[in-house]
């Protein structure tokens, strides 16, 4: 009885699915899906030349690069994008000492709500404070950048590729998809999901920032540095995580070898063959 019922239920689901496949196949044939402009022109993110120092099993942050990236962030990105999950004290991890951290913090004004008067005052930043919110005057919502490299497919490579990916719309795109012309106020960028991004090219020319360590501030260099810095803001414990990982794996390999020898020893003579 249960088997007859089961076969009936099985036939019911199969019939419903066959009906779905049939109608789906029919509309697939009569109206084949057209390739969209995103499918045709979206590009996958790529690494900068030379790669990122923190990629790979042994990869580590390069503090020099993170400090350069911080400079790019604070002189360019910070005009529109906040970094609300990062505290000034965290900057010690990328090589600043206490005095430098205090000096950096003091450049920011931290809004403070006074519960007795209802007024919003502000004080000069202290090491304990987080980066303050950024008031963006234009329309739209520039996202907070604290986690951006973990919140996008492709991570640091995506940030790098996006920053260096601004271009004229290819003539071939306009020929094949005339309706996909980039609207006014948006900018063509093949690394952005829908190809048209509201953010104007932030790193438009070489030497937009002046690096104190003498590195030549090319567009690609600035983009790679800020992508590295934003990887640090998203995953500040990356170095410690990999170090711990190697210690843990070393121990586990040793312990597992011992466990294997114990297993072979105990089972000796029980296996037959």
């Amino acid at each position: 009885m249960i088997r007859i019922l089961s076969i009936l239920v099985g036939l019911f689901f199969s019939a419903a699915l066959t009906w779905s496949v049939g109608l789906g196949a029919y509309s697939y044939v009569t109206e084949p899906p057209k390739e969209t402009v995103e499918e045709a022109f979206h590009l996958h993110p790529h690494e900068p030349a030379g790669g990122f120092s923190f990629n790979g099993l042994f990869g580590k942050f390069d503090n020099q690069q993170l400090q350069r990236g911080f400079k790019v962030y604070s002189e360019v990105c910070a005009n529109c994008h906040a970094l609300k999950l990062v505290a000034f004290r965290d900057l010690k991890a990328i090589g600043y000492n206490d005095d430098e951290v205090k000096a950096i913090a003091a450049k920011y004004q931290i809004p403070e709500y006074d519960p007795t008067t209802g007024e919003v005052k502000s004080h000069a930043g202290l090491a304990k404070d987080r980066f303050p919110p950024v008031v963006y005057a234009g329309s739209g919502h520039p996202p907070d950048l604290s986690l951006v490299t973990k919140a996008r497919h492709g991570g640091a490579e995506y940030v790098y590729s996006l920053l260096t990916g601004y271009a004229e719309q290819p003539a071939e795109l306009l020929k094949r998809f005339p309706e996909a012309k980039t609207p006014d106020g948006l900018y063509y960028n093949p690394y952005f999901a829908n190809l048209n991004i509201a953010m104007p090219e932030p790193l438009a020319s070489d030497d937009q920032v002046t690096y104190s360590d003498g590195t030549k501030a090319t567009k690609a260099q600035m983009a790679a540095d800020v992508a590295a810095f934003l990887t640090w803001t998203a995953e500040p414990k990356l170095d410690k995580r990999k170090q711990t990982g190697w210690a843990v794996l070393g121990f586990l390999l040793f312990a597992t070898t011992l466990a294997y020898m114990a297993y072979r020893n105990i089972w000796a003579g029980k296996k037959g063959h």
Partner: protein
């Protein structure tokens, strides 16, 4: 119950004797996972995964309780409290990655454990109750994992909660009130987040309770084995300790190497980037996908694209998705072959491998966007999924001619002559 040749616990020291009289807990452990539990001597590595699943449950409870000390279940601060754990709590990043990847590891070992059961027909008499309890555990795990994924209150948390609770909205007449009752509102909100946290904390302990029943039910007939031939004599078994404690120790080491590699070097590989964006009810993500362990069932849900007879497509999808797991409850009665092990069932074996491929295909489609060709592939794969359990298995098990079985486990291990000599009961 146990076998008559099971070793008995004999405390030697006055203190252990005293304990044994007052509370025979050491005796209980001895009989459950010690030298007092005779186990077939021929278990292969597929039998390591029950212990590993138990280990994962404990791992999740320990890391989860620690995370709960620092997490705040309130929609205004939940996302930031997770980042507080990642940045400011000592070793908090490790706890959170251990818990998130621990969920994936738990599902990996449980899926292997379930497929071990499929291949060796571990669900057959006299082990039906173990199997039924196992399916209950799996359902509880799915509920727990789903609610846990909501807690960070990222974009996928929010929209996943909306989609999954929306499934209940497909139930005719009472669907919408049920959905609102589950969420405590019209959309996922603070009420939903709070109850999900409460239940996410509770359910692992319910799972632990059902696991105890699962193991209790296992100890009545004893473990199955790769030949599917029941234990006949003492030479068919070895004591659990030290033989299988040693083997499980090695298995645990291998498991931990894989798990720690993910945890320390690819901690976000199995997650979705959108969950690092705070929940925003005004902005729907481009593709809403659940965690990877739900992908096969998500593919079945989305495979029903057309209304059929009197059933709207959405209701069919929901029915099919739940049925996909509920059919497992009926397996002991759908597969009527007297032979357990897939090693001796040539036709069944081919369909079993097809099922494995089918589920991988369903999983791949479930994680892909709901567009062609993935929809059509998942429709065909879903047909096979239901046909396998509901049509093929009952028929194949009735008409298949199994290959000859070994006389005993000992014979299977040692070869015919030696095995026959040992397996013949000796006169007392």
């Amino acid at each position: 119950m146990s076998f008559p040749w099971a070793k008995e616990y004999t405390p030697a020291h006055p203190f252990t004797k005293w304990i044994d009289e007052k509370l025979p807990l050491p005796r209980f452990v001895f009989n459950a996972v010690g030298a007092g539990y005779p186990v077939p001597r021929n278990l292969n590595y597929a039998w390591n995964f029950g212990i590993l699943a138990g280990f994962c449950l404990m791992l999740q409870i320990v890391t989860g309780v620690i995370l709960a000390m620092h997490y705040a279940a309130n929609q205004t601060v939940a996302f930031d409290s997770v980042e507080h754990i990642m940045r400011d709590v000592n070793w908090g990043w490790m706890m959170r990655y251990a818990h998130a990847n621990g969920a994936s590891a738990f599902f990996v070992v449980v899926y292997i454990h379930i497929f071990r059961g499929f291949f060796y027909s571990s669900y057959k008499a006299p082990r039906e109750m173990i199997w039924l309890l196992g399916v209950v555990i799996f359902l509880l795990m799915m509920a727990t994992a789903f609610m846990g994924y909501v807690l960070p209150w990222g974009q996928m948390s929010f929209w996943g909660a909306k989609v999954i609770t929306g499934l209940f909205g497909a139930i005719p007449l009472v669907g919408e009130p049920i959905q609102q009752w589950l969420l405590g509102g019209f959309a996922p909100d603070n009420a939903a987040l709070n109850r999900f946290f409460s239940l996410h904390f509770l359910l692992p302990f319910v799972i632990a309770g059902v696991v105890i029943l699962h193991i209790w039910a296992l100890h009545i007939p004893g473990s199955s084995n790769p030949t599917g031939v029941e234990v006949k004599t003492e030479s068919d078994t070895v004591p659990f300790h030290p033989y299988y404690t040693a083997k499980d120790g090695f298995g645990l080491g291998v498991f931990l190497i894989g798990y720690c590699t993910m945890l320390f070097f690819f901690p976000n590989a199995l997650g979705h980037p959108d969950n690092y964006i705070p929940a925003n009810p005004m902005q729907t993500p481009a593709h809403i996908v659940p965690e990877w362990y739900f992908w096969p069932f998500y593919a079945i849900l989305r495979a029903f694209t057309q209304d059929f007879l009197f059933f709207p497509a959405k209701l069919l999808g929901v029915l099919a998705m739940f049925s996909a797991i509920l059919v497992w409850f009926f397996l002991p009665w759908l597969d009527r072959s007297p032979v357990r092990s897939g090693h001796f069932r040539p036709t069944f074996r081919k369909f079993f491998y097809l099922l494995v491929i089918d589920l991988l295909v369903l999983g791949y489609c479930g994680g892909s966007p709901a567009a062609e060709p993935y929809v059509m592939i998942s429709q065909i794969a879903s047909i096979y999924y239901f046909a396998h359990f509901l049509i093929i298995l009952p028929i194949v098990s009735a008409i298949e001619r199994p290959e000859p079985l070994p006389f005993s486990i000992t014979e299977a291990v040692l070869g015919h002559d030696q095995g026959a000599a040992l397996a013949t009961p000796q006169p007392a």
